[in-house]
Symmetry: C3
Subunit: 260 residues, 3 copies
């Protein structure tokens, strides 16, 4: 990449020029930036899905990259807009939990972005986030963009929890990919190495132990497996798991040890 | 941007390589061009929506940019293809009203593009518009591309009108964004400064006076407000206005002063 | 284009960062690459559609371009991953028929790509195909990427056939574009120059002889015509042919000479 790398993530879709206008503003400030789209069909206002998709992507970019993520149900309210410098990249986003995937201890500095006079009440992507990313891409230091922020909003249910009474790992669906796979908050590292004795349950379905590959079940059958992000996901071989199993958004997922 | 900036707007979607092939042709002529997608999920053949989306975008680019917009229900008929140099950018498009947002008095010159021999009857994006944009991006002058055109086609109902008898401002829905908001042809500057006495009506619904923000109504309630383009839009807080209110495409929107 | 040109084609959609992560890996290896998206909304796992879309695009790029195409229902199984150098470009893809559009006699060399240790079982776009494309874009020679492959998988029904008994040309629907047009495997060069005596039949409908343009039938009427790729397509003027005519995926299409 000749110039700075900027990535964009949003729920803006492709029916409007929202993303194109953000690029105009970034390129106006940093003409040599290389801009990479991460995803713009995040379900409207789904901060959990956006956080998950950001998590799957940012580590593959150099830590000099600037990641702009705008899924912003609170636009126009008092929620803060922030820029966050970490050891694995710089992030520009609303402070609504979207940056939950940043690991603890990685944040170097965070500032609150001001809303320039004359900004739209509904499109801070254009008026706040893209201009801030453009300034960072052009070489401005984080401290020039606003006052320090001490703490960032975190999504409480973004990570799974251990239910000591039931002896189960409990998570939720974070995201549905375009194949209809339901990706959960439960990670491989949170489960025992030996998977065979486990059972995965979601929305009244018991899909058995986590498998190695789709081919471990017959076509049309449900299964659980670890996807490319090392999160447990619920799938149906050659099918659309969310439709086939009737999985509601954010549904609870439980991993238990089967009775011996 | 190292080279010339070219934007692309179309109804070509992302199931086909139509957009990618246009980029191939532009880069073949102008290898250093930076190409920015505005939007490619314009509803098929919806020239009003395309014109509106173009209007929201072009001012954010430098006036050296070349904007290629292809929503072209008349492809293969006698409609002209044009390139238009204005003080706020250069435009390449079918002459079907898509360039209505160019303000009066801004046009410096316009030419009619020829259809090269062997062109497809259905894909002038590849065979006419992209090659013309490529030539302009490579430095060709507008006059080299075709014969002058005196007048461009304008969409009569792209701008709202004042109904003097009823004392109402009358417009129409121009575009539906991905959140389901219906954006209308009525602009903030066409309404009085004091909004409180006004009432907005659409498809049998009275949604009250224009508000400042979504939070001014309860979740699920309809409202009118000015979006980031300064057009009046019909929304439902945390909902999809077009589905919730049953708004037909192009529906009439009326702003009246409420009875004192 | 300053650097090497890389195109991307997939069924990854825009709800996830799969495509963005592939770009990260390509740019990590070849920072000066120019990356062009062909299409990412190929219907999930539809290799025929992907092959067709690739066919419509690659000839418009220079033969130095690298085309990465990932529609990969067999990911994680024994299907090979390949890189293929041809006189009209270099291709990186699963060896599942996706490269059927490469013409016979154009292949210079083909190699089987290794799956690096630690690769995901479900996302070879990130772990196999993008790194291989990045190496090629950075200047690595094909032979450095893997062992030679003798033969590539071909889709048997990608090309139409002549039924000598019935004296008909028989093909199938390869792809549905976003306007609902059904593009078939029958090419203009496979039919006689004089089209008027022909009749095109699909799914119980007789849509008559191939026409020159949509305007040759009334709005709402079905027709057959040659699209911008010189394939016969089934359309409905100002309508969505697949929905209006109830065309099943992959439906058979027959062109017969009408009774004299």
């Amino acid at each position: 990449v000749s110039g700075p790398l900027v990535t964009l993530l949003s729920d803006f879709g492709h029916r409007d020029a929202y993303v194109g206008v953000m690029k105009a503003r970034i390129l106006a400030a940093a003409p040599h930036a290389t801009i990479v789209d991460l995803a713009h069909e995040i379900p409207p206002q789904d901060v959990h899905a956006a956080a998950y998709v950001l998590e799957t992507a940012f580590r593959w970019f150099p830590n000099t990259a600037i990641h702009v993520a705008v899924v912003d149900p609170g636009v126009g309210t008092e929620r803060a807009a922030v820029a966050v410098w970490t050891t694995h990249g710089t992030f520009v986003a609303p402070d609504n939990g979207l940056l939950t995937p940043i690991e603890e201890g990685k944040v170097q500095a965070a500032v609150r972005l001001e809303t320039p006079p004359g900004s739209s009440a509904t499109f801070h992507g254009r008026d706040v986030f893209a201009p801030a990313a453009g300034r960072l891409a052009a070489g401005d230091r984080l401290a020039e963009l606003g006052e320090p922020v001490e703490e960032l909003v975190v999504l409480d249910d973004y990570r799974s929890r251990w239910d000591a009474v039931a002896a189960t790992r409990v998570g939720r669906i974070l995201h549905v990919d375009r194949f209809g796979n339901a990706i959960t908050s439960i990670r491989r590292e949170e489960l025992p190495d030996t998977l065979a004795p486990l059972r995965v349950r979601v929305a009244g379905h018991d899909v058995g132990a986590p498998r190695q590959t789709y081919a471990d079940v017959a076509p049309g059958e449900p299964l659980a497996l670890f996807g490319s992000s090392e999160h447990l996901e619920i799938a149906v071989r050659e099918g659309h798991a969310v439709d086939a199993l009737g999985l509601p958004p954010g549904a609870e997922v439980v991993v238990a040890r089967s009775a011996p």
